[in-house]
């Protein structure tokens, strides 16, 4: 709360700095703004930046460092008996953390009192440390803000290049923003790698990648039966591939033909209605597809299977795959539509001019010209299918069957990741760590697919631009 007020004060100072810088620049040239190197606003921004940024950085650094420093201070100040356990040795790390937590709570006033008066006293002391720290921070931050603004104001001259400086700062800010996205990705990858490494320290990588048995239950007690834990992920890979394959069998032809119809045949009116409708499919939450698959499609397949004497599981790969295919249609069709309309009209005219019919033109000229782009789009759709979770969680099974029969229940990598992590789990058993290993495999596969797909799409674009 107090920090918030400080931020507010800094903001007000920054605005004042802007005004001062602006008016000073105008005054310097006696109102003849044309004599200034930059527009007056840039001088204002320049002063405002010098006023706000150093102070802001200081506050952020202070706030993030304050906690650990104060904790160390208070621990060196508390009576030493608090840090000893009953046997006389130093207390364990867990107990220390507990103590620090207590102290913090007392200092913030969330806990009124504890049984131990020593702890109580130390907590109050921490509170006073905090007050001192905040006071110091306020003084230093305000001094920095005023000092920065004052310095910047002195630097303002008619031929001072304020615009260039301001633009440099803005550019730096944008670089930081883009770095943030990259760093987050790197962080995720690293955590995946580390946790997978821990997993592979317990389960050999060859067993994980090539084992045919998946049953990740671990024994909680030594005498438990039937929970040995087997981490052969091949059935999961096979299940993922089977469902993705079914999805692509549905999505690719439908998406392709829909896109070709819309790009080449549909009258403008039809196109303007059908295209947004098809794109709505992409906006349906996958969870909706999920219960559509589980409650409507799967029973339908099971019942119609019975009519033909087929035994179709109610969690069949077929149902999940078909619904996933429907979900992916818009991806295939919108990318295909883009690349087909990107084929220059001159190609079509050239073909028509030779007496080709519309279908000959599409088959022999437009489609081959658009093929690389279409392949790229399909690859993107495949990586989407492999990574899709919600539909398979709801409609595919949990048992890891190694089968190519679409009527049976199979499970996928994503489903297993979800089941491994749902509920209360220890985070150091191979069971939970296996989720990271599966995630890593998924990540590597989709990344490779995306890279290939983007490369193909880009190569195609170069051809015509």
């Amino acid at each position: 709360m107090q920090v918030l007020i400080l931020f507010l004060v800094l903001a007000v100072l920054t605005v004042i700095g802007f005004r001062l810088g602006r008016s000073r620049s105008v005054k310097l040239v006696g109102g003849d703004v044309a004599r200034l190197h930059s527009l007056p606003g840039y001088y204002g921004f320049y002063v405002a930046l010098w006023c706000g940024i150093p102070a802001l950085l200081l506050v952020l650094a202070w706030v993030s460092l304050e906690g650990p420093v104060l904790t160390r201070l208070i621990l060196s100040a508390v009576s030493p008996e608090l840090l000893l356990d009953p046997n006389g040795g130093p207390i364990s790390q867990a107990h220390l953390n507990l103590l620090v937590n207590d102290l913090r709570n007392i200092a913030s006033g969330t806990v009124a009192s504890t049984a131990n008066p020593l702890v109580q006293a130390a907590g109050l002391q921490l509170a006073s440390y905090r007050e001192i720290s905040f006071g110091a921070m306020t003084v230093v931050a305000l001094a920095l803000a005023l000092g920065g603004a004052g310095l910047a104001l002195r630097w303002v001259h008619a031929d001072f290049r304020a615009r260039n400086s301001v633009e440099k700062v803005i550019k730096t800010f944008m670089v930081l923003c883009s770095l943030m996205a990259i760093l987050t990705t790197v962080g995720i990858i690293l955590s995946l790698l580390f946790e997978s490494y821990r997993f592979f320290a317990r389960v050999p990588m060859t067993e994980f990648l090539f084992g045919l048995q998946w049953s990740p239950q671990m024994a909680m007690r030594a005498d438990q039966v039937g929970s040995s834990g087997a981490f052969g992920a091949v059935p999961l890979f096979a299940g993922t591939l089977l469902i993705s394959l079914i999805a692509m069998i549905v999505a690719v032809p439908v998406g392709l033909l829909a896109a070709i119809y819309m790009a080449e045949y549909a009258p403008r009116k039809v196109r303007s209605i059908v295209k947004p409708l098809l794109e709505i499919l992409a906006g349906i939450p996958t969870v909706v597809y999920g219960f559509f698959a589980a409650l409507t499609v799967a029973p339908f397949f099971r019942d119609s299977g019975q009519l033909f004497g087929l035994n179709i599981s109610s969690e069949s790969a077929l149902a999940a795959g078909v619904v996933m295919g429907i979900m992916i249609i818009p991806y295939v069709s919108s990318i295909t539509d883009d690349v087909v309309t990107a084929v220059p009209n001159a190609m079509r005219e050239g073909s028509y001019g030779l007496g080709a019919t519309k279908s000959e033109t599409i088959r022999r000229v437009v489609f081959p010209a658009a093929l690389p782009g279409i392949v790229g789009g399909v690859l993107l759709a495949v990586s989407r299918a492999i990574g899709e979770t919600m539909i398979v969680v709801m409609a595919a099974g949990l048992s890891a069957n190694l089968t190519a029969n679409p009527f049976e229940a199979v499970t996928t990598v994503t489903v297993q990741v979800v089941t491994l992590l749902v509920g209360d789990q220890e985070f150091d058993s191979p069971k939970t760590l296996a989720a990271f290993a599966l995630g890593l495999v998924l990540f590597v596969v989709t990344l490779a697919l995306n890279i290939v797909a983007l490369h193909v799409v880009r190569k195609y674009r170069e051809q015509y631009e």
């Binding site: 001159a346 190609m347 050239g350 001019g353 030779l354 007496g355 080709a356 019919t357 010209a369 051809q463």
Partner: protein, 271 residues
């Protein structure tokens, strides 16, 4: 009689007295783009085995008229054509006419060279293939080689027929497009500013080629360059704002134009 009236509007000799030499006869042709009246009552005869040039300022409708001869305007939804354009006496806008067969008889070369993203060989073989002109591979080879030869391109590309046509230079690409057009063995070839994207040397080659092709084909060329019209054509038609202003022998049009507008245009006073 409206037809006679329209005819009188055009100076020179748009209609030929020797009807046996007429390849294409346009009568009272009007073209509309939605509300816009792009071509207004054009009457024109195009003579067999001659080069007829269409000249005129930008937007005067010369390309539109050219594209209505092989019904390329059909691909534009809002375009409507009235009147008749007769190819060897048969109206191309007649209901019985199959536009695919029409375009096989009336080939077209476009402003920007537009080879397909296929090999040089496949580019030329495209037309014969879709029309089923050749029964054997040997026959197709012969047609492809012959067409490239007639387009004056064979010597430059005979070692790399399997390479993409898009890899050729602009002038070579345009000659490839001409080879592609003549591979179908059309009777008329329409050329829509075929040299506007080319440098002077490539232009000279194409002009030379047009002059040779005249022996076997009837050629209609739209051009912005009056020198080009004067060099390659036997007859010249001058369009202005959708109307055919004047049409005569090329020499006549350039040395002794009848209409004031023609005179102004060819002397460079406007356009």
């Amino acid at each position: 009689m409206p037809e006679a009236m329209e005819t009188q509007m055009t100076a020179g000799t748009p209609l030929l007295s020797d009807t046996s030499a007429v390849k294409v006869a346009a009568r009272d042709v009007n073209v509309f783009y939605g509300e816009k009246h792009a071509i207004k009552g054009v009457n024109l005869d195009i003579k067999q085995n001659e080069v007829t040039a269409f000249i005129g300022p930008s937007g005067c409708g010369k390309s539109t008229f050219l594209r209505s001869i092989n019904r390329m305007n059909d691909t534009i939804d809002i375009c409507r054509v009235t009147g008749s354009i007769a190819l060897d006496g048969g109206n191309v806008y007649d209901r019985s006419i199959d536009v695919v067969q029409l375009r096989a008889r009336v080939g077209m070369v476009f402003q920007k060279p537009n080879p397909f993203p296929k090999s040089i060989y496949e580019n030329v073989a495209y037309g014969p293939r879709i029309h089923g002109l050749c029964r054997h591979k040997d026959e197709l080879d012969e047609v492809v080689m012959g067409s490239l030869e007639r387009a004056g391109l064979l010597n430059e590309v005979k070692d790399r027929l399997d390479q993409p046509g898009t890899g050729l230079s602009g002038g070579q690409q345009q000659r490839l497009c001409i080879a592609r057009a003549i591979a179908v063995n059309p009777e008329v070839i329409l050329m829509d500013e075929p040299c506007s994207a080319l440098d002077p040397i490539a232009t000279a080659k194409i002009e030379e080629l047009i002059d040779e092709l005249r022996e076997n084909f009837t050629i209609v060329i739209v051009t912005h360059s009056m020198q080009q019209a004067a060099r390659v054509s036997q007859r010249t038609a001058f369009f202005h704002l959708g109307t055919l202003i004047e049409c005569s022998d090329t020499e006549q049009v350039f040395t002794n134009p009848i209409h004031k507008l023609t005179q102004g245009y060819i002397t460079g006073r406007f356009g």
